[in-house]
């Protein structure tokens, strides 16, 4: 394992986590390489357009790696951006040996701006390093770098709780919406392309939508985490040398 290489990615995540405790925004500057170009800490009070202007002045070709949330007008990063970020995160999985979770969230409702409004409402649920974008109509995609299945599931439940009451919608009384959440996770022991992970999450999303009742589903690949369970055959071999205990009944009979 190349410790030094993985440390760079870990260092970024550590710095972002520390920055989250201060009134600053940590923006990971992405260039054309897989590795980030740097990390920019910028005062939280500086308005968004000014930040964008500063970044434009720095002439970074990529978009800053921040948890982008909608501003209530439905303007979120698109699917192309999601694919690009997901590919970078999956490359990081191999370097850091930490998993990466993708959660798709569908809001079924009549308002076309529902996803954007939901994205804005999700801001308190986002962790440093999270990436939130649009996916398809009324569906959001949330990349959770470093999240295991358990953590992704727990956070999906928090997201569901936040979105469930529908209080984020501007026209709340008029809109009735239901939720569905699909989770897929890529582990360091498997190599996965962005579209493959998206496909897995999408399949789970469809399953959750079919189940109704604001269900959360996770992919079979995710559930295959149990594959490390010690099997009956392995146990039998491990205990081969051990003296077998007689059963209670046999003992009593004797």
């Amino acid at each position: 394992m190349s410790r030094k290489t993985s440390d760079i990615a870990r260092l970024y995540r550590s710095l972002e986590e520390q920055a989250s405790r201060h009134p600053v925004r940590a923006i990971r500057l992405i260039g054309k390489r897989v590795e980030p170009l740097g990390l920019l800490l910028i005062d939280d009070t500086i308005p968004e357009p000014e930040v964008a202007s500063v970044l434009a002045g720095l002439r970074f070709t990529g978009q800053p790696r921040t948890a982008s949330v909608g501003q209530g007008d439905g303007k979120l990063p698109d699917l192309a951006w999601l694919r690009q970020q997901l590919a970078m995160e999956l490359a990081q999985v191999q370097q850091t040996r930490l998993p990466c979770a993708l959660v798709l969230i569908t809001l079924a409702g009549s308002s076309s701006a529902l996803a954007g409004q939901a994205a804005a409402a999700l801001a308190p649920c986002l962790h440093p390093g999270d990436l939130l974008s649009g996916f398809k109509k009324n569906t959001l995609a949330l990349i959770m770098p470093g999240a295991t299945v358990g953590k992704a599931r727990k956070r999906a439940e928090e997201i569901r709780a936040t979105l469930r009451n529908g209080a984020f919608t501007k026209d709340a009384p008029a809109v009735s919406q239901s939720l569905a959440l699909g989770i897929a996770v890529c582990h360091a022991y498997e190599t996965m392309a962005a579209d493959q992970l998206l496909g897995l999450a999408e399949a789970e999303l469809a399953r959750a939508a079919k189940m109704g009742n604001d269900a959360i589903c996770q992919s079979t690949a995710v559930r295959a985490e149990d594959s490390c369970q010690v099997t009956v055959e392995e146990r039998a071999q491990l205990w081969l040398q051990q003296p077998r205990k007689t059963s209670r009944a046999a003992g009593m009979a004797a």
Partner: protein, 252 residues
């Protein structure tokens, strides 16, 4: 300022799967043995939520890894010198939060550790029992993995499960097995042979034999006296074996 030549310590993780098989006692004594061989050793208490290294050594600990994680305190200030060649990095006890570090905290701890380990020849990590995140993380951070097991079926199963997870999910292939608390050398050899057979058959792994530690009353006596048995009973069977194990570690 004079230029400091950076050394690259050998990082060795000591785990077992099951608790109570003698990880901490082994770690403390093998660290002592290495220091007696003039090797500088750092022993990290990797049981971050239920630390024991300080107890086994009878240390009165003031600062632990916890202060580094929670307050950003310099990790070096928590080091406790046992002898000029042997230092301990203690952890906290009874702090559930420390047993489940987030990946950001793990990353922070890694970078903090990397700042202090270069001064040592060996870094030993005495992990917690089980296959929790911190256990797996310490094991993957290390260069060598020692797995301790006893002839008990529970220990065999848990040690195997740990190796299976580390191999399947984290691509670890090189495991050194230490069979502890055996009644005879033959019993230890049988346990090693059986475990080797199962690992080779199901996981295609060939483990390495690190040693066979005999049951020895000096071990439990030393734990009660909060002193390494290597110092309390240097001629005991356990001490002689631990010296042999230390020599094998040096030869790795």
């Amino acid at each position: 300022m004079t230029a400091k030549t950076k050394r690259s310590p050998k990082i060795i993780c000591i785990s077992s799967g099951k608790g109570g098989v003698g990880k901490t006692s082994f770690s403390v004594n093998v660290a002592t043995a290495l220091s007696q061989r003039d090797k500088s050793v750092l022993l990290i208490d990797g049981d971050l939520g239920l630390a024991n290294v300080d107890v086994v050594l009878g240390l009165n600990v003031r600062h632990t890894i916890r202060e580094t994680i929670e307050e950003g305190r310099d990790l070096a200030s928590s080091l406790v010198e046992i002898n000029p060649k042997f230092q301990v990095l203690p952890a906290s006890s009874g702090v559930p939060e420390m047993a489940n570090l987030s990946y950001e905290e793990q990353a922070f701890l890694t970078s903090s550790l990397e700042e202090i380990i270069d001064r040592f020849d060996y870094v030993l990590i005495d992990t917690a029992a089980g296959i929790g995140d911190s256990v797996l993380w310490f094991n993957t951070w290390s260069q060598e993995n020692i797995v301790i097991l006893t002839p008990d079926p529970t220990s065999l199963t848990d040690a195997y499960a740990l190796i299976k997870v580390l191999h399947s999910r984290h691509e670890r292939k090189r495991f050194h097995l230490l069979i502890n608390s055996v009644q005879s050398k033959k019993e230890g050899q049988d346990v090693f042979a059986n475990m080797s057979m199962v690992l080779e058959r199901f996981l295609k792994i060939t483990p390495l034999a690190l040693g066979v530690m005999p049951q020895d009353k000096n071990v439990s006596m030393a734990i009660r006296q909060q002193r390494p048995f290597l110092l309390g009973a240097p001629e005991s069977k356990a001490s002689l074996e631990i010296i042999a194990v230390a020599d094998r570690i040096i030869a790795l």
